[in-house]
Symmetry: C2
Subunit: 197 residues, 2 copies
Amino acid sequence: MARWEPNARDRLERAALALFAEHGYDATTVNEIADRAGLTKSTFFRHFADKREVLFGGQDVLSQRFSDAIRATAPAATIGACLAAALESAAPAFTPERHDLALQRRAIIAATSELRERELLKRAGLSSAIADALRARGADDTTARLAAELGVLAFSTAFAHWAAPKNRQPYTEIAHTALRDLQARAAALGSEADLRA
Amino acid sequence: MARWEPNARDRLERAALALFAEHGYDATTVNEIADRAGLTKSTFFRHFADKREVLFGGQDVLSQRFSDAIRATAPAATIGACLAAALESAAPAFTPERHDLALQRRAIIAATSELRERELLKRAGLSSAIADALRARGADDTTARLAAELGVLAFSTAFAHWAAPKNRQPYTEIAHTALRDLQARAAALGSEADLRA
DNA sequence: CTAAGTGATGACACCCAGTCCCATCACGCG
DNA sequence: CGCGTGATGGGACTGGGTGTCATCACTTAG
């Protein structure tokens, strides 16, 4: 199928990550990324809509996985079970080998508000994917949106813990405890039982 | 105090809103905005860090209000009461006269992903302002973040309802019912009682 | 074996957002 | 009246992003 080097997109992603880590996001130009990948600016923008997008390649795949996982759960499952299934479906992206890459990527994103902004857009995409999937199985709009926010919050805190420098705990474990924790807080928030001050 | 026309910033905002509504966000140049306001590109960027920012002038004020409102609630108040106070503090921004402006602004933002992205950043700012204020009064990290998300969700749905074309209901009313509704759903989500399918 | 076709790439021109630097002008103040 | 301050104007410059057209690698029809 593939002619030339079939890895163009991958090479661009790797080159970008390396250069961003080396000189920072703002200080590296798209031309430099393309040069290091042995390509040109034109080709870069044929593979990525944005300079930012080169760091968020996997996010759309993730939305699809979340959506599929929820749609595949048993009709009788609770919403909590749906969220758990969604979080689990992301596990393949969090193998120990990718740990260092994720760490590096996180540092780059945290350093530039332009990238944090894009991350929020991707996160919103995840949220609406979850909400849509929940609505498709009968949840009302308000519940679907709230549950989706809760799921995304669980996911991002789980990811943050997993990507922490010295973490060795597997992702799924972290994700489940994060979700359970949030559900407990939601119950308390709703009933206003133990809320201090 | 002010020399020249003291309204430079306001004029730029009005000019931008008018031109965006007329030709769309992408099709209008910063130069065109500045020209209509009787100013120049240099001056535009001296008042706004971004082309986008010209549409989000009030957001930082809002964060401050939310934060202050929460810090001003009685120490014995529940978190739900804190959120209600925060939502109420935004009321001055939602007078009937501003209704049409808000409607126009919303349409412009909805039409351009670049602007939706910026809106998410502002919303995240609101969320962390709320979370910080809650943490400051003793809430634990997880609860603070979840409650903040819930508050922002209530705020944005309330705003959407208030800004709807044919709405005449006052903002505070809408906001309170939105918040109460979300709290009820949170309770259900936490206890997994009535969650269907 | 060759010629047409296809798809990824390169090269180049172009527009505009955003940054810098410096000149200028309006006003208050001594 | 002269000076300092602060907002503005102007112009040069970088880099992201969009086009268009030529080119080259490889496939497939003939």
